[in-house]
């Protein structure tokens, strides 16, 4: 009997020490607190990624910079985009990336940096938030903003009016500028950022400040159709305040990817997986540039046929049924420099087969460029009495674009000689500015689509029914299916022809 009792004793002892035996549920693989300098890189990489992934593709296909191609009989999402067939489920990943990852981390970053006395981090985070929301509002219109990203504090945020969000973005940018100019900050994000990475905070801050003001210019210009007086007043005020803007391509707001695997620009790395050969330059932009004999084509596209002399370029369209190998492909401007070339994989017709050309993938995601700044100033000077000469800014925009593409001075001058002067009525001049901006903004997320909705330029021919879902370019995107399913405060749109508040041009 003794034995049993001792065994029972062991058992009961085990039970009383049960609590400590069971106290092992703190995850040793993760942490519950991180530093602001670990949060910011995640945010900046995701902002760069936003400029080079789903939304970039959808908006780029809508604005006919790109075309969805692929196997004649295969199911290809990008082909569907081109016929304006973008469903709520296609949006899920992008929506979660924007709200669940980027804005969620920005919200924590702002809070934590403020609490820890690091206004420089808080300021940068606010500027990034303003940029992300500018893109988000331009795409979806009304979205959760004032009560969004509060985690457990508000699990089903209400949708806010897009115009009210836009107005608050200006306030947010001003707050961000003031934060980054704070005289003291426990930590500064000079080297802990993948955007405007610099050795000193002074150098980095200067660039953030220029970006902040240039972003304000972009936002004010978006009011042009709805409230031109507001655009006129605000742009003049901003320029006359002596605000610093981009001064060269080195100031452009962009995120540099690298050539390492899983660190490459997704615009290129999608060509390395099973969705390769499906995202090509669109017939519209290629023919536009063919018509201008634009020297930038040699950086933007591969020749088709490959060995054509003089080089010819052929864009794709979902309306044409050719194999994707029979078109020009994207090239160094978006893919980074050529890493290898295998002439054996160029077939007798000059078609590029898989693997013929590989690239570094170390191209930047261009989010808001110096070239765009110049075109904004050109439009503002032309139509909204902003300081400066429209023609000079127009030329500066083209110059910046050629420089970004690495084109020669000779190529630039010959192009400027034929295309570099604004002529005709203001409307014709506007078309020139926006069309050049459209080329310069090749691969810039959402903005070419926004310009088209705002001004009607460039003069695209939209696809039409029954091939396409609509006979005009969509004006917005559906909310993601996941949001509709789980947030009773968000109601799905009737169709993609609903408009963002500034989109009033008929």
């Amino acid at each position: 009997m003794k034995k049993i009792f001792s065994l029972l004793l062991v058992t009961s002892l085990l039970s009383t020490s049960c609590e400590s035996f069971l106290d092992i549920n703190d995850d040793p693989n993760s942490v519950t607190k991180v530093g602001v300098n670990q949060l910011l890189p995640s945010v900046t990489v995701n902002v760069g990624y936003l400029g080079a992934s789903d939304l970039f593709r959808v908006a780029g296909v809508f604005s006919q910079q790109f075309s969805g191609q692929g196997p004649v009989n295969g199911h290809v999402a990008f082909k569907e985009y081109e016929r304006y067939n973008v469903n709520d489920s296609d949006i899920n990943n992008q929506w979660v990336a924007i709200f669940g990852t980027t804005l969620s981390d920005i919200s924590i970053l702002i809070e934590q940096a403020t609490a820890e006395g690091s206004p420089h981090y808080a300021g940068v985070a606010k500027l990034l938030k303003a940029y992300v929301y500018q893109i988000t509002v331009d795409t979806w219109g009304d979205v959760p903003y004032f009560n969004a990203s509060q985690h457990n504090e508000n699990r089903t945020p209400e949708v806010d009016d897009d115009e009210a969000i836009y107005a608050d973005l200006i306030r947010l940018i001003d707050e961000g500028i003031s934060d980054i100019k704070s005289s003291s900050s426990t930590l500064s994000p000079n080297s802990f950022s993948t955007i405007y990475n610099a050795n000193s905070w002074d150098a980095s801050r200067d660039k953030w400040e220029k970006f902040a003001n240039t972003l304000k210019l972009r936002i004010y210009l978006h009011y042009s159709a709805k409230d031109p007086a507001f655009t006129r007043q605000k742009i003049a005020e901003l320029i006359n305040s002596g605000a610093k803007f981009f001064e060269g391509n080195e100031d452009s707001f962009q995120m540099a990817f690298t050539s390492s695997p899983q660190r490459q620009n997704p615009v290129y790395s999608i060509e390395l997986g099973q969705f390769r050969n499906q995202f090509l330059p669109n017939k519209y932009i290629v023919e536009l540039m063919n018509g201008n004999e634009d020297p930038r084509r040699e950086k933007f596209f591969t020749p088709s046929p490959y060995y054509s002399n003089p080089k010819t370029y052929k864009g794709a369209s979902v309306l044409d049924g050719g194999a994707s190998s029979s078109y020009s492909r994207l090239h160094e401007y978006l893919y980074g420099s050529v890493a290898s070339f295998n002439p054996g994989l160029i077939d007798s017709e000059g078609n590029i087969q898989t693997g013929a050309l590989t690239y570094s993938g170390a191209s930047p995601a261009r989010l808001l460029t110096y070239a765009e700044y110049n075109f904004i100033r050109a439009e503002a000077a032309l139509l909204y009495d902003a300081p400066g000469d429209a023609d000079a800014f127009f030329k500066a925009g083209i110059r910046a674009s050629f420089a970004e593409g690495g084109l020669s001075e000779a190529a630039l001058s010959s192009y400027l000689a034929t295309k570099g002067t604004l002529t005709g009525s203001n409307q014709q001049k506007l078309e020139q500015i926006i069309t050049e901006k459209y080329i310069a903004n090749f691969g810039v997320v959402v903005e070419p689509w926004t310009d088209y909705r705002r001004t009607g330029y460039p003069s695209l021919t939209p696809l039409s029914q029954p091939l396409a879902i609509y006979s005009e370019v969509p004006r917005t995107l559906y909310y993601s299916q996941s949001e509709i399913n789980n947030n009773p405060n968000v109601k799905q749109k009737a169709n993609l022809l609903e408009r963002v508040f500034w989109d009033t041009k008929q």
Binding site: N25, D27, S149, T156, N487
Partner: protein
């Protein structure tokens, strides 16, 4: 009959159903994995294969009892739980896996008992919420003299179902030959000369053996030797098993060595010690599976009929792939995309039993299940698809090293005492301590430098992962059985678990059960007659509670990344020398409470004509409440899910077993058993404001739980229809897809029926097992692709081109135009089967996977003893011929084996993306006993 913790009870007194499968029944038509061998043999258990010879099966006992956690049973070997993790497949990368239950050598199994309801499993605790499979290994039996037994089972397999191909039309589109498109919608093959993809002139011809040429015969060989014996005080069994399995695709093989021992000795009259343990070494090589271009058959299956796949080169001198399509060439992938795994596993137990009094004994059992699993996945230079590492064309290697250490200890006190002449008491009191540890280290090297060299040093960038998971629990339990005479038995049980996975204060999980058994024929002997031999009623109610997975009570930050779902576009950290952290999208919850499953069962056991006819049946209702799962929340809140207690899930089911012995004589016995399984699990409620959640698959299609519907529905877009349900057809004669997703299929069968037969005649015995599954949908991408690409036989059912050379339009979609008038626009075969036609919506891929299979057959000849007389070396010789998966009848599921599951062992069923061929095996077995 063995119930929980080796408590031996007379089957007659049990208030709940337990099914037993004898080891011999598992090895009549041997398979290397025990889960596959259970198919069709147990009422109330649904065994659904995942497709492919290298995968285990989903085993679902009495329906689904949880939303997103595992619904697989707990496997208990000689009283100690055995880890059965693994077996789930990722959708777009890697290989098809088997679960760790595949480490057991079926030849070592004496019997399998399946504990189904909550009242039966309650003592096994939280992990038993989905039922228990009790495996008892063979041991020496008292009175058995020393015996050596050895044998081999070796079978050869061929593809059970291969698609029917057309061989009339070439690669191309719209009736024209084209050497760089994937479809076979080209010119009619008539010996004309064309320029092939290599730029050479060739005479157009069909290659009817395209793709079947890649396949080989599989081999499945199980060899074992065992030594058994027992004396009054001592028994032993020691065995060695060697299993070799090769796949239908080259470069797939599994080699398994099992060494097992089971010994016990009676040290004194009161004290018995015993141990049983196994060492397993399992080495496997696999080619890629799933929905990805490195799966040799994913795109290979629809190689153009006019492309000489076997003889055309697949790479140039530099190793670059030569292949017109953007995926990996099937042969290139087989040679260059590799996955090797090795498991070294030890599991076993030490058992001490002491009889304190004649009616009271104490039992201490300590068990360990320890293993290491090392694997290497290698994607050679030039890979185009995801492969093992999703290297985006850069080449990659992933080395993984996992160690698992699961320790269990049980201490039980058992009293068995007659209280009076009529009453007997059997009581057990015990505790269990569980400690599970998992340590996983992984390094993925990306960017291969030298081709063919698969060492980490040969790569440029690295993603690493270190993961430690610990889970502990303590359980206290009691079980009291009161028997009155021989006909009434009352059983009350309870268990209290304390789980480390819940926050302090919520850890205690208490759950009781009660069962009554009443044998009518004993209570009222007058009922007994020549016809009715035995009648019993049993009723029970029970509950099982459980915690959650480790680390779910808090929200964490993890290493950041950026992705858009297109796999190759993933961006990882560290990025350019910077670390990045992100707050997890899934929020944890310190307030989590246990999840409970309650079950009511009523059943009967009847025996007629002295057992010539037997019936056993149960109806049950099972309800799970307070389910713990990640409830989706809108991303705009910052979280995409919150783990919480919510919802309810209920199952109603019926299971029946009918045993018939139509013939029983000295020479001939025919025994026939029908097993019927039917259950329906309904998701009663998810969470407030949440109507459905995805449990696997893609953004669309996927498998969802939907409030008010049966568990695990297939959701995707569908054909657009009008209010009358007619399909809306465009002016061009083609249907339209909906922009929204909806339910398009139900993968749950209406019922399963197994029919096994054993006929013995003199020294021969013959057995076969038919397995029938009625209804249950599968969304088959492969069948869709075979048609979309114009390679399936039916795509050439009508002449595609008429005498004038014009493309014919023999097809008409049944439906109406937008204005309601019937569609009269005929379309071509290519249009009909295209992504603008039948496959415009995922709904078009859904097929009813009803099947009838001749799953097993066996003929055994036992050498008559007279032939063995005159020598005393050989005691017995058995020779048998057997087959598995011999015939398949699936009226609505063409081309492929209807048992397919992309996600493997998972709650999500009904998707087939990326063909995994299953073998039909025929083999022979010889067994000697010395």
């Amino acid at each position: 009959m063995v119930t929980s913790f080796g408590i031996q009870r007379d089957r007659k007194t049990l208030g709940y159903g337990i099914s037993e499968v004898k080891g011999d029944d598992l090895t009549k038509a041997p398979t290397t994995e025990v889960t596959n061998a259970l198919a069709g043999k147990v009422a109330g258990v649904q065994v659904s294969g995942a497709g492919g010879g290298f995968a285990g099966s989903n085993v679902t006992i009495r329906g689904f009892s949880t939303f997103t956690g595992s619904n697989q049973p707990l496997y208990v070997v000689d009283g100690i739980p055995l880890d059965n993790s693994g077996g789930g497949n990722s959708v777009n990368t890697g290989v098809v896996n088997s679960s760790r239950i595949s480490d057991i050598n079926p030849q070592d199994i004496e019997s399998v008992n399946v504990l189904k309801g909550a009242a039966a499993t309650v003592l096994y605790g939280s992990r038993a919420a989905s039922g228990v499979i009790l495996i008892t290994t063979k041991k020496g039996k008292k009175g058995q003299r020393n015996q050596i037994s050895f044998g081999t089972n070796t079978a050869v397999g061929s593809v059970s179902r291969m698609p029917d191909f057309q061989n009339e039309y070439s690669q191309g589109t719209n009736g024209q030959y084209n050497n760089s498109v994937t479809g076979s919608w080209g010119a009619k093959i008539a010996g004309q000369s064309v320029k092939n993809w290599f730029g050479e002139d060739e005479i157009l011809q069909a290659y009817p053996d395209n793709i079947s040429d890649i396949m080989q015969n599989s081999v499945n060989s199980v060899n074992d030797v065992s030594f058994t014996g027992a004396s009054d005080r001592f028994d032993y069994r020691v065995s060695y098993g060697y299993t070799l399995e090769t796949g239908l695709l080259p470069k797939n093989d599994i080699k398994r060595n099992n060494i097992s021992a089971n010994v016990s000795t009676q040290l004194t009259d009161k004290f018995k010690i015993g141990t049983s343990f196994s060492y397993v070494n399992n080495i496997s090589n696999r080619t890629q599976g799933g929905n990805q271009g490195a799966n040799p058959l994913w795109r290979g299956i629809y190689t153009p009929r006019s492309y000489d796949l076997t003889n055309m080169p697949f790479e140039d001198a530099e190793g670059n792939q030569l292949w017109f399509a953007p995926e990996d060439h099937p042969y290139w992938s087989i040679e260059n995309v590799k996955n090797r795994g090795e498991v070294n596993r030890f599991y076993g137990n030490l058992n001490l039993k002491y009889d304190i009094l004649t009616w009271l004994s104490a039992d201490l059992k300590i068990g360990a299940d320890v293993f290491s699993m090392n694997s290497k996945g290698f994607d050679n230079k030039g890979i185009r698809s995801n492969g093992n590492t999703s290297s985006a064309g850069a080449g990659g290697v992933v080395d993984r090293s996992m160690t698992m250490k699961n320790i269990n200890s049980y201490f039980t006190l058992t009293a068995n005492r007659a209280l009076s002449e009529n009453w007997n008491l059997l009581a057990t009191l015990g505790n269990e301590v569980i400690s599970n540890n998992r340590n996983n280290l992984q390094s993925t090297g990306l960017g291969i430098v030298l081709p063919d060299f698969d060492n980490q040093s040969n790569f440029l960038t690295f993603n690493t992962l270190g993961e430690i998971t610990r889970e502990r629990a303590i359980g206290l339990f009691g079980d009291v059985v009161l028997d009155y005479k021989t006909f009434l038995s009352l059983n009350v049980k309870a268990r209290n678990d304390f789980s480390s996975t819940l926050a302090k204060g919520n850890r205690s999980i208490f759950y009781p059960a009660a069962a009554v058994s009443f044998v009518l024929t004993e209570a009222f002997p007058s009922m007994k007659s020549n016809v009715l031999s035995m009648a019993k009623i049993r009723v029970n109610a029970g509950e099982v509670g459980k915690g959650t997975s480790p680390y779910a009570t808090n929200t964490y930050y993890s290493r950041a990344s950026a992705s858009d779902g297109f796999v190759s576009t993933l961006v990882s950290f560290p990025f350019n020398g910077l670390a990045g952290y992100t707050l997890d999208n899934g929020a944890g919850n310190p307030l989590l409470q246990p999840e409970f499953t309650r079950e009511y069962e009523i059943g009967t056991e009847l025996s007629f004509w002295n057992g010539r006819l037997g019936f056993e049946g149960s109806v049950y209702k099972r309800d799970t409440r307070n389910l713990i799962f990640a409830v989706p929340s809108p991303a705009t809140s910052g979280f995409t899910s919150l783990r919480t207690n919510a919802g309810s899930l209920s199952t109603k089911g019926l299971e029946m077993m009918l045993t018939v012995v139509p013939v029983k004589s000295d020479k001939v016995t025919w025994r026939s058993v029908f097993n019927f399984t039917k259950f329906k699990s309904i998701v009663e409620e998810l969470a407030p404001g949440v109507n459905n959640i995805s449990i696997g698959g893609f953004t669309s299609p996927n498998i969802r739980l939907v409030a008010g519907e049966e568990y695990g529905q297939i959701w995707s877009n569908a054909y657009e229809r009008n209010d009358q349900g007619q399909m809306i057809i465009n002016a061009n004669g083609l249907p339209r897809p909906t922009s929204n997703v909806q339910k398009v299929g139900n993968p749950n069968p209406k019922f399963n029926l197994g029919w096994s037969n054993d006929i013995s005649y003199k020294d021969f015995s013959f057995s076969f097992l038919l397995d029938f599954k009625y209804k249950g949908d599968i969304m088959s991408r492969t069948i869709g692709d075979l048609r979309i690409q114009g390679v399936a036989k039916e795509t050439a059912e009508f002449a595609r081109v008429d005498a004038s050379g014009a493309v014919t339009t023999p097809y008409l979609f049944e439906g109406v135009y937008q204005d309601g008038t019937p569609n009269t626009t005929h379309v071509t075969a290519q249009q009909y089967y295209s992504l603008q036609g039948k496959y415009v919506a995922w709904e078009g891929y859904v097929l009813d996977a009803t099947f009838l299979k001749l799953r097993e057959a066996n003929i055994t000849y036992r050498l008559p003893s007279r032939l063995l007389s005159g020598q005393n070396l050989i005691k017995s010789v058995n020779i048998s011929v057997y087959g598995r998966n011999l015939l398949t009848y699936a009226p609505n599921f063409p081309h492929l084996d209807p048992e397919q599951n992309l996600l493997g062992i998972s709650n999500a069923r009904g998707l087939e993306f990326g063909f995994s061929p299953t073998p039909r095996t025929i083999g022979g077995s010889v067994r000697f006993s010395l």
